[in-house]
C-alpha cells in the first residue's frame, strides 16, 4: 500500500505537481462532510458487491474476471423488471427488481461455472468473453427495445416510481438528498455479513472453500467439486448483479449504458487487498470508493494530474499485493490447472 503511494508520488512529481498537495486533496475531498463521505460511501457500494463477488469465487479457486459483465446484466435486468412491472406497489416491485438483478447476474456467472465444471473451459477466458457479450446484449436491448423514443442518450426509459429505493439523505440529518448514497449501501453491508456466514458457517460454504483449498482432497472427501464451482460462480454473479440495485434503483432510476466505471475490475483489486475476506473487502471498498471520489477533485484542482491517477494507484496496488503474496508464504489463489 505505502509502496503504491510512493510510486504514485513519483508520477505526480514527474507530471509537475506536488505529491503532498495532491494526496491531501485526494483524501480531504473524500472525507469532507457531507459531500465527501456521502459520495465515498456511494462509490464504495458497488465495489463492496464486486469485491465480495471476486472474493467468493477466489475462495473456490476461481478467478471471476466477469463481474463487469454480470453487473451489467444484473443492472439491465433490474431496470427491465422496474419498467415492465411499473404498476406494482413498492412492497412487491422492489424485491422483484432485487431478484431480477441477482438472478440475471447469477445466471451470467453460472454459465462460465458450468462451462468450467462440465467442459473444462477456463473461467478466466470465458468470463472475459461473457463481459463483451453482456455489454453488447445490454446495449442492443436498450437501443432497440427499451429506449424512450427520441432519447439521444443510450439509456432505458425510467423505472416505475415504486421501484425506487430511498436515498439516505431522507433519514440522516445533515446529509442532503442530492447525494445519491442510498439504501443499497446497507444491502451491501448486509451482503458482507451474509457472505461471511455462508462461507464459514454453512455446509455449502465449507464445500466451496474445500474445493478452493484442495480440489483433489475435497473430491476424495465426497464433495462434488463441479457442483461447488457452479454454485460459487452463480453466487458470485448474483453478488455482482446487485450493483444494479445501487445504480438503477437508488441513483439513476434507469439503466444507463456504460454506467459502470470498471467496478467489476476494481472488484479484483478490492478482493485482493481485502485478502478475500468480507470484512477486508468492505474496508478495501471504502478505500477505493474514497479514491473514486477524491480523484474527481484531483482532476479539477491540480494543474497537471488527472483523475486517472486513481486508476494508476489501483493498478500499482494490485501489482504489489499480487507480488508480495509469495513473501507471506501462502498464495492468494490456489494454483489452478488450466
Amino acid at each position: 500500500m505505502a509502496a503504491a503511494f510512493v510510486v504514485g508520488a513519483v508520477f505526480i512529481l514527474l507530471l509537475g505537481d506536488s505529491p503532498i498537495e495532491t494526496y491531501s486533496l485526494l483524501i480531504g475531498s473524500a472525507l469532507s462532510w457531507p459531500d465527501g463521505i456521502g459520495y465515498t460511501l456511494f462509490y464504495a457500494t458497488p465495489l463492496i458487491f464486486t469485491g465480495l463477488a471476486v472474493a467468493l469465487a477466489f475462495r473456490c479457486g476461481l478467478l471471476n474476471i466477469g463481474a463487469e459483465g454480470q453487473l451489467v446484466m444484473g443492472a439491465f435486468a433490474a431496470a427491465w423488471a422496474g419498467i415492465t412491472f411499473a404498476g406494482l406497489p413498492a412492497l412487491a416491485l422492489v424485491p422483484l427488481c432485487f431478484l431480477a438483478a441477482m438472478l440475471m447476474g447469477g445466471f451470467w456467472g453460472a454459465v462460465p461455472g458450468v462451462l468450467r465444471a462440465r467442459f473444462g473451459a477456463h473461467e478466466v477466458i470465458t468470463t472475459i468473453m461473457m463481459n463483451f457479450i453482456a455489454v453488447a446484449l445490454a446495449s442492443y436491448f436498450t437501443q432497440y427495445h427499451y429506449k424512450e423514443a427520441g432519447d439521444a442518450i443510450l439509456q432505458t426509459a425510467p423505472i416505475g416510481e415504486s421501484a425506487r429505493i430511498a436515498r439516505l439523505g431522507k433519514f440522516i440529518p445533515g446529509l442532503p438528498e442530492r447525494i445519491p448514497l442510498n439504501v443499497a449501501f446497507f444491502v451491501a453491508l448486509a451482503a458482507c455479513v451474509l457472505v461471511w456466514l455462508f462461507l464459514w458457517k454453512t455446509r455449502w460454504g465449507f464445500a466451496i472453500r474445500a474445493t478452493g483449498a484442495n480440489p483433489a482432497a475435497a473430491e476424495y472427501g465426497g464433495i462434488s467439486t463441479g457442483r461447488q464451482i457452479v454454485l460459487a460462480m452463480a453466487v458470485s454473479g448474483a453478488l455482482a448483479g446487485m450493483v444494479g440495485i445501487n445504480d438503477v434503483l437508488g441513483y439513476r432510476y434507469r439503466y444507463y449504458d456504460g454506467f459502470s466505471a470498471g467496478f467489476g475490475f476494481t472488484g479484483i483489486a478490492v478482493a485482493l487487498l481485502g485478502r478475500n475476506h468480507p470484512a477486508g473487502v468492505a474496508l478495501a471498498a471504502l478505500l477505493f470508493g474514497a479514491f473514486l471520489r477524491g480523484g474527481l477533485f484531483v482532476d479539477i484542482f491540480t494543474e497537471h494530474v488527472s483523475k486517472d491517477l486513481v486508476l494508476v494507484l489501483q493498478a500499482v496496488i494490485i501489482l504489489f499485493v499480487a507480488a508480495e503474496s509469495i513473501f507471506r508464504g501462502r498464495r492468494q489463489v490456489a494454483s489452478r490447472k488450466v
Binding site: F11, L15, G16, L63, I65, L115, F119, G120, A121, H122, V124, I125, T126, I128, M129, M130, F132, I133, A136, L137, S139, Y140, Q143, Y144, G262, F265, I268, A269, L272, H304, V305, S306, D308, L309, V310, L311, V312, Q314, A315, V316, I318, L319, A322, A323, E324, S325, I326, R331, Q332, V333, S335, R336, K337, V338
Partner: protein, 289 residues
C-alpha cells in the same frame, strides 16, 4: 459493383486483422512458454501511446515504432518479473497491467498536451500504414519456423509443457519464460503502434477497445498455433469489417456481429468445435526444487 465491394471488404479485413495478429502472435510466445498474458490489451495501449508520442516529437514513424517496441518490452518485463520471479497470479498481474495502461497514457497526455487522453494529430507523411501489415503476416511463417524447427522454439515449448523435465535437461526455465513474455510485449506493442500511427494518426483513450482480448480469443481459437491463429484473426477481422460495412445496410444489429468472436471462443473452449488444449504448464509458476 459487387466485386469492388468484395475487394474493399478483403482489404478492410486484412487491415483490421493486423493488430489482432501481432498481439495474438505475441500472446503465443508468452503462453507457449507457460505464462498467461491477459495483459496484451495493456501492452497494445502502451505501444500505441508511445508510438504516437514519439512519432509526434521525432517526426519519423520508425523511431516511434522502435520506441513502442522498447516500451512494450519494458512493460512485459514488469509482467514477467511479477509472474515469474514473485510467482504472483498471472491473470491478476495481467489485469493490473491493463488497468495501468488504460490510465497512464491519459495521465501523461493530460500533462503533456493538456488533453483528456488524446495525442496531437500526426501528419499524413509521417504514418506507416503498410509496414506493420507486412510484418504481421511475415511473423506467421517465422513464428511457425521458430517454434517447430529451432532450438529456441523447442525450449520455449518445453518450459511451457513440462518445466520440470526441461529443467532436468539443462534448460533455464525462468530465462526462457522471460524471453517468451518480453517477445510478446514487443509484438503486442507493434500491434498497438499500428493502431495509432498506421490505421489512424493519433492516440485516443482506450483506442484498442478490447482488441487485446480479441487477440487472446484468436490465440485460443487458433489452438496456440501460428497458422490457425492467423486464420482466427482473419475471421475476427472479417467479422469487424462486416460489422463496419453493414452498418445500416442490413437488418442484423451490429451488436450481434460484434459478439461473433466472443461466442466462437466460448464454443471452441468448451470443446463443441474440436478441443483447444492449452500448454500444460500454462499459468503455473515454476519453482526450482
Amino acid at each position: 459493383m459487387a466485386d469492388i465491394f468484395k475487394i474493399a471488404l478483403l482489404f478492410s479485413t486484412i487491415r483490421l486483422a493486423t493488430p489482432l495478429l501481432l498481439a495474438a502472435l505475441g500472446g503465443l510466445y508468452s503462453e507457449r512458454s507457460g505464462v498467461i498474458n491477459i495483459g496484451l490489451e495493456g501492452m497494445m495501449l502502451a505501444g500505441a501511446f508511445t508510438a504516437a508520442v514519439v512519432t509526434h516529437f521525432a517526426g519519423n514513424p520508425w523511431i516511434g515504432l522502435l520506441a513502442a517496441i522498447a516500451v512494450g518490452a519494458a512493460v512485459a518485463l514488469v509482467h514477467a518479473f511479477v509472474c515469474i520471479q514473485c510467482r504472483a497470479d498471472q491473470v491478476v498481474t495481467g489485469t493490473a497491467i491493463n488497468i495501468l495502461f488504460l490510465a497512464l497514457p491519459a495521465l501523461l497526455s493530460g500533462a503533456m498536451f493538456q488533453s483528456t487522453g488524446a495525442t496531437p494529430q500526426i501528419p499524413q507523411q509521417d504514418l506507416m500504414p503498410v509496414a506493420p501489415i507486412l510484418l504481421a503476416f511475415a511473423m506467421v511463417p517465422i513464428t511457425w519456423y521458430v517454434l517447430s524447427a529451432t532450438p529456441f522454439g523447442l525450449r520455449l515449448r518445453a518450459v511451457g509443457e513440462n518445466p520440470e523435465a526441461a529443467d532436468t535437461a539443462g534448460i533455464r526455465v525462468l530465462a526462457m519464460r522471460y524471453k517468451g513474455v518480453v517477445i510478446s510485449g514487443m509484438l503486442a506493442a507493434i500491434g498497438g503502434a499500428y493502431l495509432s500511427i498506421g490505421q489512424s494518426s493519433l492516440f485516443t483513450r482506450n483506442m484498442t477497445a478490447g482488441r487485446g482480448f480479441i487477440a487472446l480469443a484468436a490465440l485460443i481459437f487458433g489452438k496456440w498455433r501460428p497458422v490457425q491463429t492467423m486464420l482466427a484473426c482473419l475471421l475476427f477481422g472479417l467479422a469487424e469489417a462486416i460489422s463496419i460495412q453493414m452498418q445500416g445496410v442490413v437488418n442484423i444489429p451490429v451488436e450481434f456481429i460484434q459478439m461473433v468472436p466472443y461466442v466462437l471462443t466460448i464454443v471452441v473452449l468448451a470443446g463443441f468445435i474440436g478441443r483447444s488444449r492449452p500448454p500444460r504448464a500454462l499459468g503455473i509458476p515454476y519453482e526450482k526444487r
